[in-house]
């Protein structure tokens, strides 16, 4: 049985950063990922990473922008930590070899991003996430004596011990189908978000909320699950992302009449208002008949000098050409708001610790909460790195003062039997996994999106509950052990349904509008009643609702305009 002081599940930016930090502290580390680490979805973060390290900028300014962006739902102690530690993290990455863009003096250069009072986004063309993640993977290869990598190992469940502490995880080796019980003093979840429960989405097929569901099933509360970010610029139909960096470089949003409609919604920041604000503006234009017939508005990048587009927005040139048939240097591209980011997740403290002893979470799977009701662009990479490192360090310190307490063998036996049962379901006996997933995605995008109301959310919740039942008997075709992706898809469906249920319950319960949650039946923010987090804990008949206060340090809620 593999045994580690710290076992990291997920190998995107948060996971790799956590593993490296824990290894640096001198404990034994394992990192597992259901795909090869460099396939992780951190790749898709295009625009950059925020830090206040220019002269004239301050971490307080960065923190205030983040608090305001969160619509005052973010916990200010956690936001302070993230913004204070950001500059050092950027320098650390630079020292490891990330080829950040330089200004003419050869120093780190910035670009503008949404919701920020200063240009403080550091970047590598528009492949910032990919560049950082590949550099971290270089470090994992370099430190292969200190970090054991388990690549293409799918985690099906957390393993608990008799005291209810997290004591490891149950994994399926994707390559040969063998099941293994991994023993660990600490587990760090870094499995990302759950965008695949929405269709379309900018998220990769692997973003199925695995860690959120596993922690929730193990008894940890999840928080802010109603806060689902719709990104203002995604390709209609396919859902692919067009980076906010395009607007950072100066691109305009136009409706079908050719009007720069952001003038009406955010006269000061225009296209660079917070994402929730821009997405609502676009959706309003579309709903009120000023969009294009395909239900979109236009992003006009042609106003950016062509050489600059090729240098700084290369990936978007390719996305436009290959996936939309549009040369973005010559004509506007049609876009719409699309599912993008899970602000909520497993509740943690500022060290990444969850309410379950020995279980940590970092990155999109976690809710610290630094994003509150709405995440600022280029704060997600920062979140993964800062809290990935902190979770790694804290878990390593905890490992040094605790002993291994073996996980329950009975749970392992049960888990193996459960998977065999899925494989053994009679073909044609129920629905196909893919049918259920499609209905789930369409339902969530239809009712738990930019604009929401009581009737719609209730309808979505009913569908989700029906689909949960249908998933219990859904059958798969593949009976094999080797690369049985069919079976993995069935497990992922269960994860997604858990997340979707929590999002519906949270959205239904929060009878106000804040950040990404806009209730047409409760269109105002209501600080008197709702300046608090909704926490959901798994009960016998669905999520049990609890609350926690928003941590305030120095910023009282104000009216939010851009």
């Amino acid at each position: 049985m593999p045994s580690h002081d710290v076992l990291v599940i997920g190998a995107g930016l948060a996971g790799q950063r956590a593993a490296l930090a824990a290894a640096e502290a001198g404990v034994s580390v394992g990192i597992v990922s259901k795909v090869h680490p460099v396939r992780s979805h951190s790749n898709a973060a295009q625009g950059g990473i925020n830090a206040a390290l220019q002269e004239g900028d301050s971490w307080e300014s960065h923190a205030f922008d983040t608090v305001k962006g969160s619509d005052y739902l973010g916990d200010q102690d956690a936001i302070e930590v993230m913004c204070r530690e950001a500059p050092e993290e950027i320098f650390h990455l630079e020292h490891l070899g990330v080829p950040f863009h330089r200004n003419e003096e050869g120093k780190l250069g910035t670009r503008a991003f949404g919701g920020a009072s200063q240009a403080r986004t550091y970047y590598v063309a528009d492949i910032t996430g990919q560049a950082i993640m590949h550099v971290l993977y270089e470090q994992l290869m370099k430190h292969s004596d200190a970090v054991d990598r388990y690549e293409e190992y799918f985690t099906t469940n957390l393993a608990l011990n008799r005291n209810g502490e997290c004591a490891g995880a149950i994994l399926r080796n994707v390559r040969d189908g063998s099941m293994e019980l991994f023993e660990a003093k600490n587990v760090i979840l870094a499995t990302g978000g759950n965008g695949q429960a929405w269709q379309p989405t900018t998220n990769a097929l692997i973003c199925t909320g695995d860690g959120i569901s596993m922690a929730y099933r193990a008894g940890a509360p999840v928080m802010d699950m109603e806060m689902i970010q719709y990104h203002p610029t995604t390709l209609a139909g396919k859902g692919f992302l067009i980076t906010e960096g395009a607007r950072g470089e100066g691109a305009h949003l136009l409706n079908a009449n050719g009007e720069r409609f952001m003038e009406r919604y955010a006269p000061n920041k225009m296209e660079l208002a917070s994402r929730d604000v821009v997405s609502r503006a676009e959706q309003t234009e579309i709903n009120e008949g000023r969009g294009f017939p395909d239900g979109t508005v236009a992003l006009d990048i042609t106003v950016v000098p062509r050489k600059r587009i090729h240098e700084a927005l290369r990936e978007i040139v390719l996305v436009g050409r290959d996936f939309a048939g549009v040369d973005i240097t010559r004509e506007p591209i049609h876009i719409k708001p699309g599912n993008h980011y899970t602000m909520g997740g497993v509740k943690t403290d500022i060290h990444g610790a969850t309410s379950i002893d020995g279980l940590y979470a970092a990155g999109e799977v976690a809710c610290v909460s630094v994003h509150g009701g709405n995440r600022l662009g280029a704060n997600s990479l920062l979140d993964t790195l800062i809290f990935g490192r902190r979770a790694g360090e804290h878990a390593a310190a905890r490992a040094k003062r605790t002993d291994l307490r073996p996980p329950s063998k009975a749970q392992f036996t049960d888990e193996k039997a459960a998977l065999e049962a899925i494989v053994g379901r009679e073909r044609g006996s129920g629905h196909r996994i893919s049918e259920i997933k499609r209905e789930l995605g369409e339902t969530m995008d239809g009712h738990v999106a930019v604009f929401r109301d009581d009737a719609g959310i209730k309808q979505a919740l009913e569908v989700v509950k029906r689909l949960q039942e249908e998933a219990e008997s859904a059958y798969i075709d593949d009976r094999g052990d080797v690369f049985n992706q069919d079976l993995l898809n069935a497990i992922e469906l269960r994860f997604m349904l858990d997340c979707a249920e929590c999002s519906c319950v949270g959205a239904l319960h929060r009878t106000e509008s804040r950040g990404a949650q806009f209730r047409t039946d409760f269109p105002e923010r209501n600080d008197d009643e709702w300046l608090k987090h909704i926490e959901l804990t798994r009960g016998d008949d669905g999520p049990q609702i609890g609350y926690s206060d928003v941590t305030m340090t120095q910023w009282e809620p104000q009216e939010r305009t851009y």
Binding site: V35, H36, V38, R39, S40, H41, N43, A44, L53, I90, F91, H95, G97, P99, F100, H101, R102, N103, G106, K107, L108, G109, V124, A125, I127, Q130, A131, E138, M141, R175, A204, L205, I206, K238, F240, L241, P305, R306, K307, I309, H310, E311, R314, E315, V319, R321, D322, F323, R432, S434, D477, D478, G480, D481, V482, F483, N484, Q485, D486, N489
Partner: protein, 412 residues
């Protein structure tokens, strides 16, 4: 919506043949129905969702960022998500003359695990680890960032753009002949460090890669990796840059390629056309006019070239034996030779390394209707190529140093 047929090379490792024992690979056709602008990956996923959940293919982002879905489509190594199914269908028909299915196979130069899933660990990743794929800095980083030339970061961004999909490895002809060849992806990764001013072990890296018999001189310059790369990394260009850097370090090139290249450029500059006789002499004993320096390697190289020369004469590729006597070579008429020299002068003035992240396009471009007829023809050819779209794009943007010449091969 349109109907397409995908002919997929399948391998189910646990299946048994009718006679007992392991079943081998086989072909299976799937009929799918989708919009022509959707991808071959979308087609494969539809087949998996609707028809056979055991069809294995790695995939995640669907947008050519994660590098999971490397496959061969109609024989061309690429990403399944980046290939529009309508285009793949047209390419299949063009290649086969008639309504033929789109052929999808696992990547080459790697063992197959199941269906379209290959073993990249034992091949691709082992080779990546071979090139010491992490920054070797001076061990003394400053408090803040290192100050470097802005262009140097943009330069290595081209190789940082590699998503490790393995398409170039799949397409590599040298690796087909020599499975131990370090290969295009790993060597491009090596350039990422050699080109990085923060890495202080350039010379060590170059000596290592030059002395390895499966290293930088094992590439045969076939352009397949440039064709296959979905991200414009142009691995072969990076290998050539490693070779030039090695030459700059004074590293002896066992294949004599460095001097051979120098001989070519020198002769053309001097005579305008290629004097084959001089080529041999200049390649093996440069700078010693009319006589050979009796270095064993040079003599061995010269003798080794004789069969090639004879074959060349027989097939009419080279001129008669008499004209192989060094020095007898016709001159270009009129001022043609000066014009050739002018080209050299121009090249000397514009010596910047081309890089797709820097070059982009000129600010002012003619509108399509103002384009010269030649440019229109090039556009038409561009759209006709389909499968080879990537290198066409590089060729038109000057993204690759070498793709321009490749275009003439008309491999589309």
């Amino acid at each position: 919506m349109a109907d397409y047929t995908l002919k997929v090379r399948r391998y189910q490792p646990e299946a048994e043949s009718e006679e007992g024992g392991a079943a081998g690979p086989y072909w299976q056709e799937f009929n799918v129905e989708l919009d022509p602008t959707l991808s071959v990956l979308d087609g494969l996923l539809q087949a998996r969702d609707r028809e056979d959940g055991s069809l294995a293919v790695r995939c995640s982002c669907r947008a050519a960022i994660c590098g999971s879905c490397g496959v061969k489509i109609n024989g061309q190594s690429t990403l399944a998500c980046l290939t529009q199914i309508g285009e793949a269908h047209e390419a299949a028909n063009r290649m086969n003359g008639g309504a033929k299915p789109i052929v999808v196979e696992p990547m080459g130069n790697m063992p197959v695990i199941k269906d379209l899933v290959t073993d990249m660990e034992s091949t691709h990743w082992t080779k990546i680890r071979r090139v010491t794929p992490w920054l070797l800095d001076d061990g003394n980083p400053p408090e803040r960032e290192r100050i470097v030339e802005p262009e140097s970061m943009v330069d290595i961004t081209q190789t940082i753009a590699c998503i490790q999909c393995g398409a170039c490895v799949s397409a590599c002809l040298s690796m087909e002949a020599d499975p131990d060849f370090i290969g295009p992806a790993a060597l491009a990764k090596a350039y990422r460090f050699v080109g990085d001013p923060r890495d202080v072990q350039d010379a060590e890296r170059l000596y290592d890669l030059a002395q390895d018999p499966h290293g930088i001189y094992d590439c045969t310059h076939c352009f397949s990796c440039i064709d296959a790369c979905p991200k414009g990394v142009a691995p072969m260009d990076q290998i050539m840059r490693l070779r030039r850097a090695a030459g700059g370090e004074g590293i002896d090139d066992k294949n004599n390629g460095h001097r051979h290249e120098a001989a070519f450029t020198k002769i053309i500059q001097k005579k305008g056309t290629l004097d084959e006789a001089l080529l041999l002499q200049e390649s093996y004993a440069a700078g010693v006019k009319g006589k050979l320096v009796p270095k064993p390697a040079a003599i061995k190289g010269l003798l080794g070239s004789i069969p090639t020369a004879i074959r060349g004469i027989r097939t009419g590729k080279m001129r008669s034996l008499r004209k192989l006597i060094p020095g007898i070579h016709h001159k270009l008429p009129g001022d043609a030779q000066d014009k050739v020299k002018g080209i050299y002068g121009h090249a000397e003035e514009h010596r910047t390394q081309l890089n797709l992240y820097i070059t982009g396009e000129e600010e002012v471009e003619p509108e399509p209707d103002e384009m010269a007829p030649g440019a229109l023809a090039a556009e038409a050819k561009l759209s006709a190529v389909g499968g080879g779209r990537q290198h066409m794009e590089q060729a038109t943007e000057g993204g690759s140093e070498t793709a321009r010449t490749k275009d003439e091969d008309g491999d589309g």
